[in-house]
Amino acid sequence: MASTQEIQAGLGEILEEVAGVAPADATPEKSFTDDLDVDSLSMVEIATAVEDKFGVAIPDDQLANIKTVGDAISFIESNQG
């Protein structure tokens, strides 16, 4: 099981790779859409990368509820393992 720090770091790498977000900007309170300029299709790419990296499943209906970096971290924490 990845720790919160590991999840945040791993998610940061994915955000940088998929959407060009600087790791320093990927803090928990940031909204993907409003703060980080991540569009709906990039959210899908982030979701599939997260699924591969952390072994979680993020169905589209749940993806819609993930608004911030913190939401994503919480989702991974409670669904991994």
Partner: protein, 322 residues
């Protein structure tokens, strides 16, 4: 006991000619931005479309199919009476009875061929091409005209910025005939009917709706294996592919697929969507025709094609370009 005599087929089938029809009216992103809340930057970054063609009233499905089919026939060098099967792939018929296959064939001057319509959404062209190839190899037909034709604007809400910027009109066609060497690889096809509602015409509004995220996820994750299967069945690898021409649904899907398959500099990637929008069953023959016309693709090139869309359906194969 009396036995039933089998038909005599050809060793292989190949594409003999390609033709397309693009509606007269160009619609730019700036024009759409005047009537709906969108802009060029938004459209280009989401779907990669700069302009699309919208058919006018006289550019009917039949007229566009006949124009594309006629060009493909001329390119093949065949006379109409040498054709014995016509398949028209379309998902945008407003009047399903009668199908338009027989009328298109008649207008092309083809005497009494087998003729029918096929609806496999945006995968229709590749489904039809697979059937055409099999018909020639089994002896059910000698020469086949395959047309993909759509007027998606008939089923699109022109005020809905999620779909109106994407869907467009046009027709593309090929003529398929016998060959000693296979020029069309075995089809890799299938469907994911559990996602039947991801792309559908809503019964109440009669307009096309699409679950964009679900379709994007499906296309960029599940279809890589189908592309690989098409190459495996044809006995080729990604390094052998000269032209990659998947259905022109979304430039980001095209780029994602190309990246996953590892196509490098030597492989030409079809990006006809930039000028044509998403023309569903017409998109692959339109894209192939444009690449051959511009010289980016050459006769004899090996192309990988993949149609995918409503159903959900998918079909891909490896082709030798005429």
């Amino acid at each position: 006991m009396t036995t039933i005599k089998p038909a005599e087929g050809a060793p292989g089938a190949r594409i003999l000619g390609v033709g397309g029809y693009r509606p007269r009216r160009r619609v730019t992103n700036d024009e759409l931005a005047q009537v709906m809340d969108t802009n060029d930057e938004w459209i280009q970054s989401r779907v990669g479309i700069a302009e699309r063609r919208w058919a006018e009233d006289d550019e009917t499905l039949v007229e566009m199919a006949v124009a594309a089919g006629g060009k493909a026939l001329a390119a093949s060098g065949l006379a109409p009476d040498q054709v014995d099967l016509v398949i028209v792939a379309s998902a945008s018929l407003r009047h399903p009875i009668p199908g338009i296959g027989p009328q298109v064939a008649h207008r092309l001057g083809i005497p009494r061929p087998g003729a029918f319509d096929l609806n496999a959404g945006c995968a229709g062209f590749c489904y039809a091409l697979g059937l055409a190839s099999d018909a020639i190899r089994t002896g059910s037909a000698r020469h086949v005209v395959v047309v993909g034709v759509e007027r998606l604007t008939d089923v699109t809400d022109r005020n809905d910025r999620a779909t109106a910027v994407i869907f467009a009109d046009g027709a593309g066609a090929v003529v398929v005939g016998p060959s000693d060497e296979p020029g069309i690889g075995p089809v890799a096809w299938g469907s994911d009917g559990d996602q039947y509602s991801a792309i559908e015409i809503d019964v109440e509004s009669a307009f096309l709706t699409m679950a964009g995220q679900a379709v994007y996820r499906w296309a960029t994750t599940r279809l890589t294996e189908t592309l690989q299967e098409a190459m495996d069945k044809a006995g080729v690898t990604a390094a052998d592919i000269d032209v990659f021409a998947p259905h022109q649904a979304n430039l980001r899907i095209i780029e994602s697929m190309a990246k996953k398959l590892g196509f490098g500099e030597r492989t030409v990637i079809a990006r006809d969507i930039v000028q044509a929008g998403n023309t569903s069953a017409a998109s692959i023959p339109l894209a192939l025709g444009a690449l051959l016309e511009s010289g980016e693709a050459k006769s004899g090139d090996l192309a990988l094609v993949l149609g995918y869309g409503a159903g959900l359906t998918f079909a891909g194969q490896v082709l030798r370009l005429p």
